[in-house]
């Protein structure tokens, strides 16, 4: 019985410690982001990796999300004879909810996992120690460009996702089911408010930060993992954990942010 409580206490302390470390890590990264020197090159390279190279996946998933929204929406709305609302239904779901969340999940799968693995391998092969011994702060040198690129890329990708999604919805709604084009767009214009766009932007900014925070810090603290984080298997297990943790965190924060911003 005592063993059971000891275990719970142990777990609690372990996660508390991990959370504390990650908090300090985030603080260090944010402080360093504002400290000179500012180097553009590494940021551009990270935007290329996190942002530009995700565009294909984003366009693809965005288009199908919009299309399926129109499909489902049309089916439901015709029951009430109100297919005129199709445009606003598609646009609102994308801008407020699905755009930020799905774009973030795609970025986690593509870039978050890669970042976590990269940093984890650098930790394992003492490359991070080497940086520290050269008096180069790994927060500044490795993490800051990723953070900035994440905070820039995720909102832009979300924007692309929304636009392509609406276009996908248009193709299915107007092209396939013959919903009136004017009604589709007019409904959209009149129902989407600045507040909805604002919510989408705030969400995607925060998601961008969360993704990079979790993937970099999981990699950076690989050696504190309870399993030891050794070798190739340690990196792979850790990367899986980072992906799961980021995805869950995004969904939880999505709920929280919706509740706050609504």
């Amino acid at each position: 019985m005592l063993g059971f409580f000891e275990k719970i206490g142990d777990n609690f302390l372990y996660y508390l410690e991990q959370a504390g470390r990650m908090g300090v890590f985030l603080f260090n990264c944010l402080i360093n982001a504002f400290k000179p020197p500012y180097k553009i090159g590494p940021i551009v390279r990270q935007i290329h990796f996190i942002g530009a190279r995700s565009i294909f996946v984003i366009v693809f998933t965005g288009a199908f999300t919009g299309m399926v929204l129109a499909l489902q929406g049309y089916y439901t709305l015709t029951k009430f004879g109100s297919e005129g609302f199709l445009g606003s239904a598609v646009a609102l779901s994308l801008i407020r909810e699905l755009g930020p969340v799905l774009a973030s999940l795609m970025v986690i799968g593509r870039a978050g996992s890669a970042i976590c693995a990269e940093i984890g391998i650098m930790r394992n092969s003492e490359q991070i120690d080497a940086l520290e011994c050269m008096a180069i702060d790994p927060h500044k040198y490795l993490m800051v460009p990723k953070f900035i690129a994440g905070v820039i890329s995720v909102p832009l990708l979300t924007f692309v996702f929304d636009v392509v999604g609406i276009f996908g919805g248009y193709l299915v709604g107007v092209g396939l089911f013959g919903v009136n084009e004017g009604a589709f767009f007019n409904g959209m214009y009149s129902s989407v408010t600045w507040q909805d766009v604002h919510m989408g932007v705030v969400k995607s900014l925060i998601f961008g930060l969360l993704i990079i925070w979790i993937s970099t810090s999981k990699g950076y603290f690989l050696h504190y993992e309870r399993s030891g984080g050794f070798g190739a298997e340690g990196v792979s297990r850790n990367t899986t954990n980072a992906v799961v943790l980021s995805s869950v965190t995004i969904l939880v924060w999505d709920y929280l942010l919706t509740a706050i911003l609504l």
């Binding site: 391998i121 092969s125 490359q127 120690d129 080497a130 520290e132 050269m134 008096a135």
Partner: protein, 266 residues
């Protein structure tokens, strides 16, 4: 030998370190004096690399102090630690090159991140260091495309590129052929004469490495077993050192004059 009055750059005072139940360092005391070369020897797995990592501030002692330039590494701020490390040049035992960067970028990194040198100056400096290490033409390769010995030499070039005040080399010549390692020793000798840096070298290349040493320390049984000049070391009466000397050098090395002035004549 008269008492050395040079100030200590690094002092380890009663340092203890355990990993779980394994105690690796037991009350280690060691001083490294300014401008001298300290060679640390000892059997594999005795804690030489662990000792070095304490000096680098990568490991914190469970007990005791590690003082560098008079400052206790465990007590100073991150910023101060960074300032201390600006004087360091480090070669890790596993070299720890940045494996997704070319050799050139590896050596250039400290210059790019820590100095305001222009790309042209950087190129000149890096090319000079690479040719010093006999690595001309390898600049565009990635670490994984190099032989083990070449990686060591890239690591040395990277460690020396900012003309550090204190250098730490963990097995700098392991994996190098005899003539290459002789050449590296000659290079150490020359650069030490020029830059007057303080050096801590971990090596298994006994007795050759003794030619570079001002002091030799033996790590055994979790402790530093005496720290003395190489001449005294070879003639020491301490039982640990006696066994070590006998096993590594054998009787052939009993005559000291044999290779005196080796590096001067080369």
């Amino acid at each position: 030998m008269e008492k050395d009055i040079r100030p200590a750059v690094i002092q380890l005072i009663d340092v203890e370190k355990s990993f779980k139940s394994q105690q690796v360092l037991k009350k280690v005391n060691l001083s490294i004096l300014e401008g001298t070369t300290m060679v640390i020897v000892g059997a594999s797995g005795q804690g030489k690399s662990v000792l070095l990592k304490h000096m680098l501030g990568l490991l914190k002692p469970d007990k005791g102090e590690v003082r560098v330039f008079g400052k206790d590494l465990a007590k100073i701020s991150k910023k101060e630690l960074k300032e201390v490390r600006q004087n360091y040049g480090v070669l890790f035992q596993n070299v720890a090159l940045f494996d997704s960067m070319t050799v050139f970028d590896n050596v250039a990194l400290p210059l790019r991140e820590r100095t305001k040198a222009s790309e042209k100056e950087i190129k000149a400096n890096v090319d000079e260091k690479l040719s010093m290490m006999d690595l001309q033409g390898a600049g565009e390769k990635f670490p994984a495309q190099l032989s083990g010995g070449m990686q060591k030499r890239v690591g040395l070039a990277r460690a020396l590129v900012l003309n550090p005040k204190v250098v730490f080399f963990d097995e700098p010549t392991t994996g190098l052929d005899v003539s290459r390692s002789n050449e590296i020793y000659r290079l150490f000798y020359r650069t030490q004469q020029q830059l007057k840096y303080t050096a801590v070298i971990v090596s298994h290349d006994v007795p050759k490495i003794f030619k570079l040493a001002d002091y030799v320390a033996l790590v055994a049984k979790g402790q530093v077993q005496g720290c003395m000049s190489p001449e005294d070391f070879q003639l020491s009466d301490l039982s640990e050192i006696k066994t070590f000397v006998k096993e590594t050098m054998g009787p052939i090395y009993s005559s000291e004059e044999e290779e005196m002035g080796f590096y001067e004549t080369l």
